[in-house]
Symmetry: C2
Amino acid sequence: MMGDTAVLGRLAAVCMLVGLSIVASADEQDVIDYRQHVMTTLQEQTASIAMILQKKAPAENLGAHAKLLSLAAVTAKKTFDTKAPGGNAKPEVWSNAADFAKRMDALVAAADDQVKATGNAQTASAKNQAVLAACKGCHDAYMTPKK
Amino acid sequence: MMGDTAVLGRLAAVCMLVGLSIVASADEQDVIDYRQHVMTTLQEQTASIAMILQKKAPAENLGAHAKLLSLAAVTAKKTFDTKAPGGNAKPEVWSNAADFAKRMDALVAAADDQVKATGNAQTASAKNQAVLAACKGCHDAYMTPKK
């Protein structure tokens, strides 16, 4: 049988472990929250561009949205630097890190390419298809559906 | 008493009016949807910056977020060019257009100012307070709470 002191000691050790685990988990949640702020930005910007290409929003803003999307894509890649599965990110993001990085680089390149082609509606639409294909390919492989 | 032809004529006229009104209303909804994509971008970017200033996200990304916010703020002002009350925008956005424009210009200026001050944590925080004050002042006057 354990004495009271030993029981208290074990309890304290358990509390410390639980405490540490809560801290680690809060950090991971921060990584996930931050990532989602950036991914939502990408989503809102692709939605803005889609509305312009459907003539539901002013064409003169296309250049600004393409630039926003391109900047956000560069930042989006960085938000996956810290391993934190959860939110909508499958663990494969980190277990297939090389493929994931290649796909994010392809998105950044497609978004960058789109910035240069916002003056012509037809070219802009083609470039946007490339961006959306990069989004979809990566989401199909690495994203769990949104709850 | 109206003859059948007259009744049909009136019915057709009413259908046309209803039809036209549906079209106009779809257009207004587009304006609102587009505006909300841009305003949500602002929200996600201010949230990203807040996480960095709270040391919950990488400081090295602050410059990118400040630039994103600044670009999005310029576009945000334009999304109110077309009068379309609704979503979270009060009719006063358009009835007090001069004051609203002044506030949006102040946001653009504060966001632009923030871009130049991302190297120093203390200055960055002060500049961010100015951005958030511009957001809050305008929201208090012109935004209905989100449903």
